[in-house]
Symmetry: D3
């Protein structure tokens, strides 16, 4: 029995609430069990310098955590004067994941920033951020279509992410914080709605893992993201 | 008629939700109309260096705004690598306001950090932060009393804050963003439950204001904070 | 008897020396007792980005303190790599105070930076900076009129500032450092020559203060600034 | 035919030169074709604060690139005042990879920093850094055994890393810069000498990749690291 | 005829005013023509970490320039968030120059910081800072002798500095800003009272200079510093 | 006998290897005994803002040291977030030294950055950097002539640098680290191929030195740079 009491292939309860941010063009609050991330999508009618006059758009992400999102208070990155390596790694991952399903030519020269701010952390925040950011991004693109700044929604597929790990030798899906701390390996899978792998990051935290174990983690992730894709579709059709 | 349609002496709807943060010793979500601030109180069993071995506690505050709390996206302070002057000014104000009603000797050598993070901004965020932080601080102190780390709650009084301004020559209470932008003067009042003035910050943004105008603003603020004090008392007795 | 031996309503000796800075378009050294601040006004023929092509000018301020202006040496902000929250709060106040009496349309697209550097600190440096900066700004505008870069001096009124406090229950004017440290409340008043209130910042450092006390502080401030206005007028007519 | 003319499963020429750094306890220059990385291992007789008095050692890594290691000059991170997100991500990866094969209890309370500085970049620098750093670390541990500061070499296994990618639909081993820029997917594999997976990072840069493709990349990586492990063994037995 | 109209070997007017800073243990305002630098010496009863428990003292310097000390306003280093390379180079020079004449064993474990802040700049500020800082340091040491924290003044010699340059082929003493801008070479000499060379920094800004020219600059510097030494002696005996 | 066993006027072994950097327009690895510096010259077809539209080129330098170039590991400046005062002083010196022999009008509006990175440090790194950077710069200019971006090589002379010092009262040439630590005075001479002095920096680290000593150091430096000039000529004619 895993610490959370869930079956090896059980996700935590998922709640996706689109449109929660009063001012943003797109937004989604995602809850995966206790973990809660607020994702907003902000549209700006210009691209960063390296893309100017190329007729393409840009999608990027920033990630943050409220100081008391965690069990003990973490230092505020704005006060410390810099973002940690972990923060930068996560926000680069979120940006790559979303860009993988966007037709940037179809965006024209505009940029969307996805802000993913963790309100409560209990494991899996980077995966929740990706899953929620996709809904926020979809809403922002729909907003642009309505405003006639783009002709069609440039999203080509869904993208969602989930973590898996090996707990007492057993592959399990969707680690919470307690499970993650105790897991012997931890892998984050970013998968596309049509089935492909967009990004895989697997780390053996104790003993290295075998190819078989890795394949079972991938299978669990595929099963988990199917449910996330369904939840996303439901959220955008509300 | 003021832009919000409210009477000159009408507060926006107030909602105080204590205990919303899963991990913090104390917390309160405050909504003043659309403005929403999440306040958490984090207890640490040590004081900053300048207070060591003096037998006193410390209360301090940090303030932040999610990038898309505002109409157009603001730069993330953690990414920019420093907190703005405005942020520092506000967090210093919140800290002073709360310390004014705490018996720091009674705390013993412990420190509480109040994190006030603006989820949605529509004017009056610093005042809402003070009002909500008092509830979070009260809850944190009660937690310490329960844990026997202090003998009694060191809060000596309530503290709440409200902004007032002069709109088309008329003193009005509790400015929202649209009103604040158009106001000729803007004053923030931090008042104590027993009636005293803890802090006053008044700024004439257009023409200087007269003593009479200033006194009418103070009277409005007193009327407004009475309602805030009542809401605080209700929140801590839930 | 207050620590300085002055009557409750007595200012320290005031000396305003305009034109002391060799290279600046405007300047004034102000001494309030031992406190000494050097204020310079620097004219630049362009405005910050947010004002471009709006036909208005800009006035802003920066504040600094020599490391050994104080009783014990303070860390040099340039060496530490950032300005403190206190410094930023003060320089924002000085900028707002001066902008309140400038017709920015009449300036055209030019910017003036007021540098207020504390040579010796003995309380009241932010107030002295405002009072001295007004003289430096006046001189810089006169310089521009002479050079024909503006047609008339855009200053619409005088502005001066003074601190008041409550010492052993007694409202007193113009606190020096020793008095400020011992005062139960401290308020800075920025007043206009024609009588209006431009900015008020009052903080109860011990017990909250009452409305009556606050009004007596305001009356003292008005009395003190009358003398400062007279000194400013004398300085600009030398 | 791939751009480099190599067979799909061919590594670039590998040169490992241990002991090249005059002052370091351990070092290795690694060349993978044109890519050249200098790895040094520096021993310090103390651990970071979070490990004090736990009887364990620490291994960490820092990564840098000479400004003109690349085709066009990159900004010097020391001059810019911060390390990029990419740099931080890479140095965190190198540190994790090496720690995975170290018995930190057997180290006792000492720390080793692996500095991996890229002299010439032509793709695969993070993988080369890991492979070379293992040799430097081995040498440093042998140095400590000789000096009697540890009893036995705490390395439990070899670790090496290699990138693979999909070039025109074809999985290929060990991408150089030109190939990496054109590849449709890019995966870095950090493998253990005894066969386990220590870390996998796969990113679809164009279309998502399938499970089958991913498994073929893993097989290529295993084949490539076998040669790297042999080269490492040869290097440490010189 | 040189731009200033002075003879080739003429110094500008020198004024040294010791004791001008109200709070500092030692201070001196130095004027060399229009150039004006305020030097303060601050005593602290502890040394930096690298000197702890060695029974020696430390003398260090910091240098700054008020933003409008110069013809056009310079950016405030505290606002920019770092000291320029020029500032750091100068403050390192001042510290080395003064340490060269201090018996640091005789100081015991205390540190003196020399703050040299340029009020008005017209060339030669680093040299003026050294000459003035010596007077401030002397005064601070005398203060310590009086307070019995040291037994005797640890200064072993005088130190003063002057710049020389080649103007239209002619070696000249004590360049002001206009001369410095036009000079073909610029050398700063830091000389000891007893005749030795403490530091020489010569830079050919146009054509390289010959040994003969260099020796003539040194002779001029020696002549100039004789007058500075006399002025220092007069200042400390006031 | 000096610590290195060399005669008072003997240089260490010199090796100059031009063209070692795969991607740079010009490069040179210089070894002076154990000291090793990699110098690259990077050409960019634009000048910094202060030179725009003046028809002149720019030459600048940056200096760095690999963390384990030294006996004990030094902190990485990129990780610390700023360059030390020493680094900035050295890179300013290198830039000035090279600019002194360049006809910047003949360059046209292009900029060359000289990156000097110390691979192994054993004293004299700044001097080696200047000597090696001249070869890299020469090669970069030849590259531009070949590419027809400039008509002729704008170098007007050679430049090389060497340190001298006083060891047990005896002037000696080319100090290594052990000698430098023990020397009573240390001077760096930057000399031109045609015989002039470009820059002199002499510092008495113990007792001040006399004019005679200084002249003997200069004579030694001239003798040493003759050999460096010969080595540079040989390097560029390979």
């Amino acid at each position: 029995m895993r610490p959370s009491g869930r079956a090896a292939d059980a996700l935590r309860s998922i709640v996706l609430e689109p449109g929660v941010a009063r001012h943003a063009e797109g937004s989604c609050r995602i809850r995966m069990g206790v973990t809660e991330v607020l994702c907003t999508a902000s549209v700006e009618p210009r691209v960063p310098p390296f893309l100017r006059n190329k007729g393409e758009g840009w999608v990027t992400a920033e990630y943050g955590m409220l100081p008391r999102a965690t069990h003990s208070r973490g230092e505020r990155e704005a006060a410390r004067g810099k973002q940690s390596g972990r923060t930068q790694e996560i926000q680069r991952l979120i940006g790559r994941a979303l860009r993988a399903v966007v037709d940037r030519k179809a965006m024209g020269e505009m940029a969307i920033t996805l802000d993913c701010d963790v309100i409560t952390a209990d494991g899996g925040t980077r995966c929740a951020a990706i899953t929620g950011a996709w809904v926020a991004l979809h809403q922002a693109f729909e907003h642009c279509v309505l405003k006639n700044t783009i002709r069609r929604n440039p999203l080509q597929d869904q993208v969602a992410a989930i973590s898996c790990g090996i707990w007492k030798g057993e592959p399990v899906l969707d680690l919470d914080y307690a499970e993650d701390s105790a897991a012997g390996a931890d892998a984050n899978f970013v998968l596309a709605g049509k089935g492909g792998i967009i990004e895989v990051q697997g780390t053996a935290e104790g003993a290295p893992f075998s190819d078989e174990q890795f394949l079972r983690l991938l299978a669990l992730a595929r099963q988990g993201t199917e449910q996330l894709f369904a939840a996303q579709r439901k959220a955008i059709h509300r």
